[in-house]
Symmetry: C2
């Protein structure tokens, strides 16, 4: 029998206990051993929980119990979760977590401690909820050099964008609706400002490119400026607007970014709607593969945690465990050194003058003319240096023939 402890009896933690109970027999068969939850750590009381006697408020009950070989950390954040993870690993216990913030922030240190102590630090549930993505990246695409990765990594923002696009709700209404349905937290800022997606693309990039990608260096923009008109016009251009996290490796360095992006509907990511997440991975042999599913939720996330627990029980082999290298200098390609294309939408005072200016400034581009928006000039830039494009777009604000820049959106291709 393998005894485990669950730290934090919230949504995911209680889901882990539920899944282990519900599918215990089958899980034991797959793990080759029965898995028993011996302790649950939480500062709260749970008078209605039938196994009350296993709940403790004292973490020493867990760290001092040599019987516990695996600790599930579902506390979240980088405070006490960090301390407890270090203590557990240092005590020779494997740790399984859903805590993306902790992995993105202290992953390299925690992996190093795990390696030294010959135990596991596993975090499948930290990205994409129940979608298998971290193990496939480590173990199913080994014949490939991964060239790029892009994903819809946050269910809350994808739900908001979907309901704005399909039901014409404005951002505030769509956000409130998401909160009512439990898809957005009371304080939604990590989601809507793109921070959650940023941590996740940092984790996926670190795995794909074999070196730690520091999330704080990734340029990140949320969805708060997206309007219903943006989404309507995207639709008319046979596109969608999605909050994407993406990264690619070029000449040994990494480019990563999180921003709302214009995607043609022929791209598989464009059709990922509501709270669903999807991750598109490109390899030099495999081409594009996509992993799709619910990116959050109690049982999907818990099932990813439990799968990691099963792996720890089943595989004693730790040789292949990766520790992300931390470069002494930045391994990032700075935005001024990358190319991109943008979609730009202007309200104009004089269509002809504005067109002439844009043409002189942006080169041989095609204009989009939509009968519904006669006073708007829309175009896609050519592929060129991203900083240059942004400067030129900003400069449009000061042109007499242009009333204002309504939107500028990076095009994902």
């Amino acid at each position: 029998m393998t005894s485990i402890a669950v730290l934090g009896f919230g949504i995911v933690g209680s889901g882990v206990v539920e899944v282990l109970k519900k599918n215990g027999e089958n899980i034991a068969k797959k793990a080759g051993d029965t898995i028993k939850v011996k302790h649950i750590l939480d500062i709260r009381d749970f008078p209605d929980f039938p196994d009350k006697n296993i709940i403790t408020k004292n973490s020493e009950d867990i760290f001092n119990d040599s019987d516990v070989s695996i600790v599930v950390e579902t506390i979240g954040g980088i405070g006490v979760a960090y301390e407890f993870t270090k203590r557990a690993l240092s005590a020779g216990k494997s740790v399984v977590t859903s805590n993306k913030e902790l992995v993105a922030t202290h992953g390299p240190e925690l992996m190093r401690i795990a390696k030294e102590k010959n135990v596991h630090y596993k975090f499948e549930a930290s990205v994409g909820g129940g979608i298998p993505i971290i193990k496939p990246l480590y173990e199913c695409l080994s014949a490939n050099e991964i060239t790029s990765i892009a994903g819809i990594l946050n269910g809350t923002t994808n739900y908001i964008l979907t309901s704005m696009a399909n039901e014409g709700k404005d951002f505030e209404t769509a956000l409130k609706d998401a909160q009512t349905k439990g898809y957005a937290e009371a304080n939604p800022s990590d989601d809507i400002q793109g921070k959650d997606s940023c941590r996740k693309i940092a984790i996926l990039s670190s795995i794909s490119f074999g070196q730690y990608v520091n999330y704080s260096e990734i340029p990140t923009e949320g969805i708060t400026k997206i309007t219903v008109e943006d989404l309507k016009i995207a639709e008319l251009l046979n596109c969608k607007i999605k909050l994407l996290g993406f990264s690619r490796k070029e000449n040994g360095k990494i480019f990563a970014k999180v921003c709302p992006s214009l995607i043609d509907k022929s791209n598989a990511l464009a059709n990922v709607e509501d709270v669903f997440n999807a991750i598109l991975v490109s390899g030099d042999s495999i081409g594009d593969v996509m992993f799709y599913g619910r990116g959050a939720g109690k049982l999907p996330t818990a099932s990813a945690v439990v799968n990691d627990v099963i792996d720890v029980v089943k595989y004693s082999d730790l040789d292949s465990m990766q520790v992300w290298d931390v470069s002494s200098e930045s391994n990032f390609i700075q935005p001024e050194n990358t190319n991109a294309r943008y979609f730009v939408r202007l309200k104009v005072r004089s269509m002809e003058e504005a067109k002439k200016y844009v043409f002189d400034c942006f080169g041989k581009i095609d204009f989009y003319e939509l009968a519904e928006y006669p006073d708007q000039l829309m175009f896609k830039t050519l592929t060129e240096n991203e900083s240059e494009i942004i400067k030129k777009i900003q400069a449009l604000q000061n042109i007499g023939s242009v009333r204002n820049v309504q939107t500028s959106l990076r095009i994902f291709e």
Copy 2:
């Protein structure tokens, strides 16, 4: 160093050699050992291949070489591939294959031999080309009871249906076009009659439900009867028609089927176009997850084979290797014991009389009326016993008010 032999130097076999060469350094790092192709078996000559000296026409060179620990079988079919696989496994060599026909036909026997000899028999590339699906099913969803699985498993037929739908080509023209582009073989019957999809859903079902699902028992229908009109009308109903293989477990028994199916566009499978494949897996905790990518092609398929080779090198642990149980009696739910819904399209002589008959016969169903097709009556049946529905649809042929049954399509929900 690990020495391997490649049996069959066709598209996939040569792709395996290419991928091992191209990404050799990285593959060695991931496998923990250098992988060297020591022999290639093929009856043909390859005068332009630079490593001609490793090509042999004599299989004994491989089976008698104790240095070779892994054999890659990319011959295909169930003749010599079956004999060679048995010989290799019996000689204590692990076998990695892309041969779905062999796995679907003799999988249980070959797995048993592998287990007895303490070697691997691995076949990730047999389903979905490069898409990681077999390893994720075995190792990433262990916390779940898998309840159902459905997939677009054949790129050729998906390409044909996509070009019929988008470009209005009839079946024969779309097939010829697919042949010209190399997406369909000169003899396309295994693809267009659904046999290829049938073997693949049999393999996926055997893994998901832990017991051998004999493909010859799966009712299988191809796409040869689908017309451009069917696809146009599906579009008007906000649906797509896709060739699906699907299965589910109910009360310990298995229901599986391959047939062209009507899918609402809100289902992620509906948006899988061209030669792409996708597999939707439902688990009791995870909900739906989908795996998407190129289901065929030299390098994607080869990269799945090489990934299996890396796994054999890396993991000596064979405890978790599954051998599919073969039931002494059929483990199938017979079609007469399942429920379904159908979409039916009739050409009628008298709309009112036909409507009355259909209503009396099929119960309180809703009719679809499309201005473009004034002489056609269309409806979706209620969910009821599938054999009964089929009998009732057949009976419609003999009703005076009905000219003929244009289409009856199972609805995938």
